[in-house]
Symmetry: none
Subunit: 408 residues, 2 copies
């Protein structure tokens, strides 16, 4: 039997629907992968009685509970107080936590408001969880049957604290036999297209198949029991990946470090010692923004008017021949710059089509490398933010395919 | 006192984190606006005992509960069975529901699998909720203190059923007096700094004060009872906004359309008929990306090396005097372009400081308009993505302040 874990989210913004509780899903996925069985998620608002009642319920029902939110400095942040009340523990001042909070403000040249002192008060017996990413330290505590960990609700801080502190602690505190999760990440195929492609593959009953579509990729998930034979696992993953072909940009869970599309592109560009200059239109800066801090991205430019960009570069624009225009722009940028790759991301379709979620635009990507010009086109519909995001991803995926010598 | 409502989501995909429960937030927002107080969200998996225990808990705790999921045809869809068991009611076959399910398949020229018959079985005393958007009808039922509505978990079906059936039913069943929510949006002040600034203002006990910090702004929320006098509401909101001063960029709930910082900047730029060219460094394209589809943004460029950018523009770079360098760049871009505003977003601090979450970088914004040069500096620490985002926002907020003639 796996140990039972519950997720508890605190905040009026969650129960009133101002915030979608993405923390609960993210944490659940992490702990399920570790070998816990998650039985409940509960969210309550900033009311002391609701909080204490829930803490007591969970303390007799679960082996472990991760609680997010309610650790801030303001009067509606009640977690520590609720824990103290629920389990009859006095609140105690933690000198080290207080110093950390003060340092957080000092590093930013800001004066610590008096209200932040509250964040250094923990229930007696609690262990502090240091937080290098925000002002609020977390804490952990055993009560009844349950080991509780309390962390801030800000997603970035919560994730850091889980990955660097709570996760490792859980692994040492509990006897876990995790199932093995393999995630095949693709770009360019929808969920139903993937399902159709792999429909002929026989998936054994003890292997769970699932899908997850996000704005940046579609993930095909295979969950294997902890004692599933290694060779059979590798063979099945290989079969599925083969059906998805060149759309696969990463496979998580097979031992190599992997990540999102930018991660894959970054590895390829760094390994190949390439540098790149970009021109963006539909993505309007988002391609460069996604590559934050990557040394190989030397420059990007966005110009609303393609005519003006061409004029500045001294290139002839032909609005009816975007591939030729893109080649001319790429050639000019290559000549005057130092990057060995030039990527031009253009689109055709009028302004109305770009803004209207019912209409599609056509995307044209052109890549200039030492091997010459490479081009590919695609089309995207939906809200303007989706078009922007897909334009950035399609261009990056085009680059990935070139670097991996896949079909463009 | 508002009636108490709880949200209950059923599904293994929710508790295991495969699916983010967006239904709960959407439903909560709807019912809070109608005048309910939402006290809890709970999600449980497809286990009969967990489901019956939760149903019984809620039946003594809440006046109303909306439950999503578990109405499908498969063996793990247990809602009707759990309701029957929890409240000692036999399951009864509903002829009309069965005909609807058969019609759904007939219209799609598909044969109804035998398993779908189960979806026409409801606990005795339940009222059917017709579903024109999928196979599974919902149902409602009073048990103990609570009126329950059970609907499918597919978001599109759930939303239709709520808007067209459950919402109107709730409005007629409950005496509702919705509260009035005012949200004051600020940039540049932390949650605790805000609390300190407004600490001298006396907030009447019947007004709820709350805060919500996201990566893009901090929201100060004032929730007024439905019968709070209009003049007193306006006066209190005015007092709070005055303490937050020039950091306030929008106030939601007072009748005018409002939105995020980009929305405010967009309105100001459009009203003033301005256009703008941007140079980004730390934000690396994100400033432009946030302004997707805004006509007044004519161009952005990002160049990793400030030296190379200056070289291309024929401008002398002085790394020790960023304000002077920014002025020179802005002047050159203004001369050769058509935009009436030029915004230069630079930062000082070496590459290591940019990447290291423990270190801060200094941001320098320069705006050139017909009134001359305006400059402001700030500092930001944290992970590189946070520095990038803050750099983009700080530059946009600087522009907003100039346009609103606030302190820069």
């Amino acid at each position: 039997m796996n140990p039972i874990l519950e997720i508890f989210s605190q905040g009026e913004e969650v129960v009133t629907g101002q915030t979608v509780d993405t923390n609960a899903a993210w944490l659940s996925e992490q702990v399920v992968n570790m070998g816990f069985t998650v039985t409940r998620h509960t969210a309550v608002g900033d009311k002391l009685d609701d909080l204490t009642a829930l803490l007591r319920e969970i303390s007799v029902r679960a082996d472990c509970c991760i609680c997010t939110g309610g650790l801030g400095p303001t009067s509606d942040d009640l977690t520590a107080e609720a824990v103290a009340k629920a389990f009859g523990l006095p609140l105690e001042f933690d000198e080290v936590a207080f110093e950390q909070i003060q340092r957080f403000f000092a590093r930013r040249n800001r004066v610590m408001p008096e209200s932040n002192r509250k964040q250094a008060m923990f229930p007696k017996g609690a262990e502090r969880i240091d937080n290098a990413w925000g002002t609020a330290p977390g804490f952990s505590l055993r009560a009844g049957r349950c080991w509780f960990a309390f962390v801030p609700g800000v997603p970035s801080e919560m994730r850091h604290l889980f990955l660097e502190s709570i996760g490792p602690t859980l692994a040492s505190r509990f006897l876990l036999r995790p199932d093995k999760l393999i995630t095949i990440r693709t770009f360019g195929l929808g969920e139903s297209a993937i399902q159709q492609r792999i429909s002929a593959i026989e998936i054994p009953a003890q292997v769970q198949l699932g899908f997850r579509a996000s704005s940046d990729d579609v993930q095909t998930k295979l969950l294997f029991p902890h004692d599933y034979p290694e060779a059979a696992l590798t063979a099945l993953v290989g079969k599925v990946a083969a059906e998805l072909g060149d759309n696969v940009f990463a496979i998580d869970g097979l031992g190599q470090t992997s990540g999102d599309l930018v991660f894959t592109v970054d590895q390829l560009m760094t390994t190949g010692k390439h540098t790149m200059a970009v021109v963006e239109t539909a993505s309007q800066g988002l391609l460069a923004a996604k590559c934050i801090g990557k040394d190989w991205l030397l420059e990007t430019r966005y110009e609303q008017s393609l005519e003006r960009l061409c004029q500045k570069l001294g290139v002839t624009v032909n609005i009816n021949d975007l591939p030729a225009t893109a080649q001319a722009i790429a050639g000019e940028i290559h000549k005057t710059g130092t990057a060995d790759f030039v990527l031009i991301q253009l689109y055709s379709g009028d302004k109305q089509a770009f803004h209207d979620k019912e209409l599609a635009i056509n995307l044209h990507n052109t890549l200039l490398t030492k091997d010459g010009f490479f081009q590919a086109a695609g089309s995207v519909a939906g809200p303007i933010e989706r078009k922007q995001n897909q334009a950035a991803l399609l261009a990056l995926d085009f680059l990935r395919r070139y670097l991996q010598q896949k079909e463009l």
